[in-house]
Symmetry: C2
Subunit: 420 residues, 2 copies
């Protein structure tokens, strides 16, 4: 008998909403017990998890997945220990739910402030990596949200196995299993249904490739917290310390290539270009980074390829770097705001006026002075963990940790106060 | 020659986005000068504004608008002085833009914190009351956002006249006129186009009747900050001080009827119902408030009409009150979370445990103890002014002031720091 997908998803949504009511008031100790229990179960059942994962790997090979995809799909002992450790770290973080702030007395005599509360029900749509199941579930649970997880069909056995550990862990802590539901069908229409569950789901977080995120954004009737491109810039200002500029440029580009906070375009002030570009070009050559420069860059670096307009909006995620020489701080900022993706951009300068100007005017989720773009990360920022990096503006920008999965309501205390 | 609406709206969007870049970095003094200049111009041109408004009133009468609608449409001297005073108050508020908070040093040595920044471009879609043009424009300007205002066609002459004052005021302060654009056409398709301008507009705020808000929510590709119903509750707990309960119930219901923060349903604990309901019924009778009770209420108040299921979800905005007797605090909370609109709900109790429980578990934008629901208001909360009350969860809940029109980006300061 085939599953009626719309009906099934309605049921999933309804159960999640009911569970969210309970979970929003759950005590921290209970949520932490669930997180630690899930971590223990993952380790206890590691062999079985690997066996279930093997089914996905075999099917993936048969379906022609490439090595990189199979690699992301693989649940080996290291990945399983990583999931467990991640859950333990989340358990150790302070509970954001219920935090009361800004309580002040008003002239009327009432006392007004905020209480931090969960968003409610969060839908996570993700691809390939089955460890997202545990990571995302952990963050949502700790922040008091019920979660609906929809992983890729290629990881269905792995995700279901992790789901079973999650269900048992919730049970151990006395929390309803519906706090974290993993969609049981690989039917693609389930995603479409999830995106229409606006009576039950408060926010959708897509995690995966650009295709997935664009589809989710275009179709969703539920608000989406999303991260599209990471086209990050380093700008070497007239007043840059050139040693710092070299270090930061190299680190931003070459520390890791396939990450959203890697530099994709280097902007260099005209006054320092002739001095710093040859040094940088030699170092990038050692790392086998392909350089693509504007015409002025090519005058200084004759061997450099020509950058065309598409290069300014390219997220290479590869050992390729575009370089542009600019005439002024304003030109650098204009370039970043026009071509960038509002992710992370850094200025290298010793000048406080230039740095203040850059910090204020660059419209990105992370704006930096004299630091590598690679620092744009939930752990580096002290959020403890992150569920993603938002390049949107509403609700949350930049790395999204536990606070980003909550909201604030007003609370008012009186003593029989009425409005005059 | 007729206007090409899609092309016109694209132009409006593009101009707004360009202006937003400038406005986000404008100094407070410049924004305040614009606000005060607009206020002065409104007063200077009061006679002309009233004459332009008269054209709308004449057309409105001819088109059969009822007296209440004509009343909302009217720009008399009092309304004009109110607009000017509102703008001066906004000028006097602290500027939220650029505020830096939470700067801390991380183990890596970088310093991480937040900077408050404007959302960018805000689209306001509103009905009838032309004074919204000035109020909304003022709040958006102060918070550094470019604004696109689309008022009702019945107020087109009034809105255009106010727009002219706004344009002149911006000019006086040296700000581009495109910071605040008022849509010049009454063509209804302009609204649809505005809702699709997701490349240019960051958020849409609809202000008006339920029909407008539902249309905007259903159609918009741009995120919406909205306020739907205000179905507010007062719960009189077992441990209520009955004098306070009477005062708060009366004030919440009868202080004003047509407002979203008026009580629509009174919940009463069984143990105190027989004692308090007759007193309340007599006072409500004096105010000619119609009571509609559950069957248990009817036992105590035999003259009370029967409430049916629709009454629990009705926003009367009128001298009508539904009453339900509940067996427990949990039953009251379940009723509020199920039937309410997540707007404002209050408990009357002397019991600290019950009040803490209520504050945590009621899922509303304002949750109160021993205070009238009528306090749910931007001015009463000390926000200085409000552009609306959000019953959504994402980004902002409850009264939306200047902060609600901003967001935070991360800022990172280093000294040549790179990631290890």
């Amino acid at each position: 008998m085939s599953l009626n997908i719309p009906e099934y998803m309605q049921q999933v949504g309804k159960k999640a909403k009911d569970a969210a009511g309970l979970l929003s008031a759950a005590e921290s100790a209970q949520k932490n017990l669930a997180l630690i229990s899930i971590a223990e179960l993952l380790i206890e059942k590691a062999e079985w998890l690997e066996a279930e994962n093997e089914k996905d790997l075999v099917a993936g090979k048969a379906n022609g997945l490439d090595d990189a995809m199979l690699d992301r799909l693989r649940l080996n002992n290291k990945v399983i220990l990583g999931m467990a450790e991640g859950l333990r770290q989340i358990a150790a973080l302070p509970d954001p739910v219920g935090e009361i702030s800004d309580m002040t007395y008003r002239p009327s005599g009432i006392q007004v402030g905020h209480m931090r509360v969960p968003l409610g029900v969060i839908g996570i749509i993700y691809e390939s990596r089955p460890n997202v199941t545990a990571d995302a579930a952990g963050l949502c649970l700790k922040s008091g949200n019920a979660t609906i997880l929809r992983g890729g069909s290629e990881a269905i056995y792995s995700n279901q196995a992790i789901a079973q550990c999650i269900q048992e862990g919730l049970q151990t802590a006395g929390l309803p299993a519906e706090c974290i539901q993993v969609i049981e069908t690989t039917d693609r229409s389930a995603v479409g249904e999830l995106l229409r569950l606006k009576d039950y789901v408060d926010v959708i977080i897509p995690r995966g490739g650009k295709g997935l995120i664009e589809r989710v954004s275009a179709e969703s009737l539920v608000p989406v917290i999303k991260h599209l491109d990471g086209i990050c810039h380093v700008f070497i200002d007239d007043d840059a310390d050139l040693d710092k500029a070299v270090e930061i440029s190299l680190n931003s580009k070459t520390h890791r290539y396939g990450v959203c906070n890697a530099m994709e375009t280097l902007l260099v002030a005209d006054s320092v270009a002739a001095k710093i570009l040859p040094t940088l070009a030699a170092l990038f050559a050692e790392k086998e980074v392909e350089l693509r420069g504007c015409s002025r860059t090519q005058v200084i670096l004759p061997d450099c390829n020509k950058a065309n307009d598409d290069d300014w909006t390219a997220e290479y995620l590869a050992p390729i770097l575009s370089i542009r020489i600019v005439d002024s701080l304003d030109d650098a900022i204009d370039h970043i705001n026009q071509y960038g993706s509002h992710h992370t951009d850094t200025i290298v300068t010793e000048n406080i006026t230039s740095s203040r100007y850059f910090l204020r005017r660059v419209d990105s989720s992370s704006v930096m002075v004299n630091a590598s773009t690679r620092f744009a990360d939930g752990f580096e920022y002290g959020l403890g963990a992150e569920i993603g990096i938002s390049t949107d503006k509403l609700h949350v920008r930049g790395p999204v940790g536990l606070e980003g999965l909550t909201t604030k309501k007003f609370i008012v205390l009186g003593d029989g106060h009425i409005r005059q």
